[in-house]
Symmetry: C2
Subunit: 397 residues, 2 copies
């Protein structure tokens, strides 16, 4: 992939051998370095069981950041004080090699839960990776952070502010496992824009709510989910903040990059064959819209019906009914793409052939109208396939 | 199955041909008749989208009941006013044939959602079934109400009160589909005891909370779930109520029958290969215990790990962490049967071989201690297999 990258970053991705049972050619350790300390912002998992690197990042995210070390193959979660010390050690090793304060490093991990980190393997991997840092090696990072992802995920946007070209570059990994353990979503948004820290923080939060927080693969929330944004200011624009020239363009770029990465994650969900957009309109409250959309998007019966191309709107009605959202069955309408299949809670007698054709596609939209108010939301989901069961049932050998 | 049955009931189960695409030898219409009008109690789905027969039963459950007609193959859900009229008609047809008031009939359905009832087929089936009513045909009812269940489910208990023998007989169908549609749980608890209506109602509610409400197959809640208890008084005991002689024995019998049926349902979940009991202790509140247990029992990642015999406690920790229950990771302990695998939130270094042996069994228990209080609960669950995806992805042909 030939991505256009922001100024001032260097990248490396290497094979350290963190999980000895995984593919022996798979890169599993990555570095992202900003030559100039960058303003940072982060959004982290709401799971009350947080991996050690999440706890460490939360402590350091308000510092200026010079370097991020990321590994796949071990989540460093449920590893206690030793796990936290190991995460600190990873940052310290990198800081010493780069000669930056260790408080300017961040650490992210994804992989198996509950297994102590192989610290020597990781130390060696960091030393190796530092020798390979290059401004055009972002592809190696995108590969090294993958677990069961089938494709690396990168997106860029460029735009101009007062004659300065600004680049926003995103890298992500989605739901997946390297050995059978907790799926983890990681994303890194890198830009050469100059941005005020509070502005970056609110911009990232807003973009995550509109993108990653609207993706559901299996409804399970990881101990390691992390989204980090760095802005190193090398584009030399006047610092961006709400209301300033270029702010809207910046906000749009961040939103577009995160949304595109989120859709890549949904489409590449474990074993997924279909990307389904679920839109709920006419909800009595914003919370009702969320409850209804997530209930449909997470229902195992709905997701297996998508997999089987089954024109089965009854399962959608049932999922709405138990969602906890305010529902009046005789006000509900449901369309698949532009085909209305339910009107006022009962069959609209849509031609079964057209209905079947729509849900055989690898991408379609379900639009649900609750007829109770003006609130709406959109959620991105995928089907549950035999391959999902394969990937998640197999033992770690 | 040679069950000992309560006095005064007659049963029939026939093939009506309600879903023409299903197995041509499968019985799909059943009658349960009490010669003496019985005191009734019911517990119904909390789904806001309720099938027509659920709406009808809720109206009639406080009447004395003489007859129940049950069909599989069509749920009569999301069928609007026509569906309600069809349910009324089923009860009326039966009432006329038996010469009882139609308000003394109940109607239950399970099967495909959103398809109009084939009323002529059902009428003919009811007429046929009435000619076959017999006091020893309960097996036919147990078969006729099945959808994707692999086994019929019946349980009986007998006990004495003041020299009178009392029998409690339960029939149930579990999560399953006849053509690809919403799973439905139906259960009928029949007894010849004399019971006060309020006492029967509270006894049934209590038993359902301890049994059916603790079973989770896929987390999806049906539009048709119904549990009905009838007590016709033919055992001629002094009417049972709390505090009366025999009340405890009656309550125990109802609890045992419903729990045994519930465990049969969990073990026979669609494609299930393992029955897993999840016990949560030490929760800060009763609600926290429920949230934690249901989160673990419903997690797709946990359930696929059970299927794959994967000794993967990390997924249990993660499910606890996002359950919404109050959790302090460093106070959590987890045991599989008697093997402690997590102590204070980190690996207890249990021998992996013993751990693997336990979860390869078709039945095991996960006991979670949260260390935050004195509240506990138990939930019965099963794994998610390839066969689950097969059953729920296939199109209705």
């Amino acid at each position: 992939m030939n991505t256009f990258l922001p100024a001032g970053y260097r990248y490396a991705g290497v094979r350290a051998g963190i999980n000895p049972s995984s593919d022996k050619s798979k890169k599993d350790l990555a570095l992202i370095i900003s030559g100039v300390p960058a303003v940072a912002a982060g959004v982290f998992t709401k799971n009350r069981v947080k991996a050690a690197p999440v706890l460490l990042c939360k402590r350091r995210i308000n510092n200026k950041i010079s370097a991020i070390v990321v590994n796949s193959g071990n989540a460093n979660a449920c590893t206690g004080q030793q796990g936290f010390d190991d995460a600190v050690r990873m940052g310290r090793t990198l800081a010493e090699l780069l000669d930056v304060p260790e408080t300017r490093t961040l650490v992210c991990s994804t992989g198996t839960i509950g297994v102590p980190m192989p610290v020597k393997v990781i130390d060696a991997g960091i030393r190796d990776a530092v020798t390979k840092l290059a401004p055009d090696s972002a592809d190696d990072v995108a590969s090294a952070i993958m677990t069961t992802d089938t494709k690396p995920k990168q997106v860029t946007r460029t735009f101009n502010i007062g004659g300065r070209q600004i680049t926003v570059h995103g890298l992500a990994k989605g739901s997946g496992m390297i050995s059978p353990n907790m799926a983890t979503m990681l994303a890194f948004i890198l830009t050469d824009a100059a941005v005020d820290r509070p502005a970056l923080k609110s911009c990232l939060k807003d973009a995550v709510d509109l993108s990653f927080n609207r993706v559901t693969v299996d409804g399970d929330m990881s101990t390691n989910d992390t989204v980090i944004a760095l802005a190193n200011g090398l584009a030399d624009n006047k610092p961006l903040r709400p209301g300033a020239p270029g702010w809207k363009a910046f906000q749009t770029a961040i939103r577009e990059v995160t949304l595109e990465l989120a859709l890549m994650i949904a489409a590449d969900g474990e074993g997924a064959t279909k990307l389904v957009t679920v839109i709920v309109r006419g909800a009595a409250s914003p919370k009702d819209a969320q409850l209804a959309a997530k209930s449909v998007a997470n229902s195992l019966l709905v997701k297996t019906a998508w997999y089987g191309s089954d024109p089965n709107w009854g399962r959608v009605m049932a999922a709405l009914g138990y969602s906890g959202a305010k529902i009046q069955p005789d006000r509900v309408s449901i369309s698949y793409n532009d085909l209305c299949v339910v009107r006022n809670g009962i069959s609209a007698n849509a031609p079964i052939k057209r209905f079947s054709e729509i849900i055989e596609h690898p991408k379609f939209t379900i639009e649900i109208s609750l007829g109770l108010g003006k609130n709406e939301t959109t959620v991105y989901s995928c089907d549950i396939s035999h391959e999902y069961v394969n990937l998640n049932a197999s033992y770690m050998t």
